[in-house]
Symmetry: C2
Subunit: 278 residues, 2 copies
């Protein structure tokens, strides 16, 4: 079935979303924080706070209506890219209001790319963050639609990375991450994973995204998550819970970092990673 | 300050408590279940269910009022014993009503033992489980009060255990377990742990309790948690998250199992363990 292109540009919502300290802790544990980082896992810590990538959770209930209006076959969708832009630190609990808009539906030949934008505010209207989420719909391309505008990503410098660090995921990473909101059975149910062509359940792209940002903040920002201005990543290969990931970082400009993330087989699981600092 | 003995026998509550599938999953992960046990961590599993020791969570908000009426110094309290008796399987989500009663306040010399009983029902009045929880109040003994009636626990048979199994806890076990309800900082805050005489934060007694029952059900009940009729344990030494525990089980009668649990140093962390099967 052809995608419905008429929905591009329409604003959906706002959708309300609530979270509390317990939800922040569960998310932080889900991306691998633990007792050595009490500021994210213990509400009684003096400096308790939300880790900024919790921002990707805020549109949890804001995407379905707009997305389904495109008539895309959900079983054929994989998460392509994610960009998070921080406007203000996330409160330790909040009632959030998020609007959704389909920015574009692009023809990639083998499939279609649906790019959605989400803007989240607190109940006083203070902007907290924006998310761009790209869904690749396998088999839905070739409709003669627009070509995705090229993003201006600086080339990776011709030198060894400026930072290299490891991140160990655990076999139950997806089981824990999913209680933060994304209950897609692909990440826990072996039968569902097999039915869509994977050997076993794969980790949520957004879990990998959080895991890598956790390690980046420690290695590059010396633990100061307040420095995160924006973070983009393309999910180029699936991660299996339990895999160890290696991140290579090039500091292209004083406030611009380029990332690539590899699994133990040397496959890139994140490409086009870009982190901007404040 | 002397304890207020006048509250013995008074019924408090009922107190309402709600839980859902997400809460059951978070609890199951907190006692060490993972993707090899989808029936406890994946709400889409055909046989998804509550693990029976989630019953100890139901009185989470039902104990404070009665307990505080005794004027016990909360900082001096350690969890002594726990008994859970199952009346019916726990639903996958429920509104629970729990009453609390102080069954007795006993003089143990070096301290006082406060024994509370909790009865939990669903909203239709169907009894789900009862809990008995004993709190040992250090320094509050010697008031000439009643001696605790002796429980009839069969002696451990003079033979090697009938089952021996290991349970590995992880360093972030307490950080995860505490989001199921017991936020006592003793289990996460190094400063609080030191202030009350521990080198580092200790695992919740009720987390150890759940971890051991998880392993028991697998090893002795071949995975059938519906066989659990009742489960008693005395918390005789603290467990540090990350420790490996060894459980020894003697089948004293066809439906009666006696347990002892040891840490790697050979200290008993659970004594007087008794599990009755259906």
């Amino acid at each position: 079935m052809a995608l419905n292109l008429e929905r591009v540009g329409k604003v959906w919502g706002p959708y309300e979303f609530n979270y509390n300290e317990r939800d922040l802790i569960i998310y932080a544990l889900g991306i691998g924080f633990g007792k050595e980082n009490l500021e994210y896992v213990y509400e009684g810590a003096k400096d308790f706070k939300a880790f900024p990538t919790y921002g990707v959770i805020l549109p949890s209930n804001a995407g379905a209506e707009a997305f389904l209006s495109t008539k895309a076959n959900f079983a054929m969708v994989v998460h392509g890219e994610q960009t998070l832009e921080m406007h203000n630190p996330l409160p330790r609990s909040a009632t959030i209001s998020t609007t959704a808009v389909i920015e574009g539906i692009y023809d990639k030949g083998s499939g279609a790319l649906i790019v959605m934008r989400f803007d989240s505010k607190d109940k006083n209207g203070k902007p907290l963050c924006s998310n761009w989420s790209s869904a690749f719909v396998r088999g839905a391309g070739g409709f003669g639609g627009a070509v995705q505008p090229k993003k201006e990503i600086p080339a990776i410098p011709q030198r060894n990375p400026d930072f290299v660090f490891e991140a160990q995921t655990v076999v139950n990473q997806a089981a824990l991450y999913r209680v933060s909101g994304d209950r897609n059975p692909l990440h826990i149910d072996p039968a569902v994973a097999k039915a869509v062509g994977f050997k076993e359940p794969i980790l949520h792209g957004l879990c990998t995204y959080g895991v890598i940002c956790r390690r980046f903040v420690r290695e590059v920002f010396q633990g100061d998550c307040g420095k995160l201005k924006s973070y983009s990543a393309r999910f180029s290969s699936p991660v299996i819970p339990g895999e160890s990931l290696q991140t290579k970082v090039w500091q292209a400009r004083p406030h611009l970092f380029l990332l690539e993330v590899y699994n133990a087989k040397g496959e890139a699981v994140i490409r086009n990673g870009v982190i901007e600092s404040k």
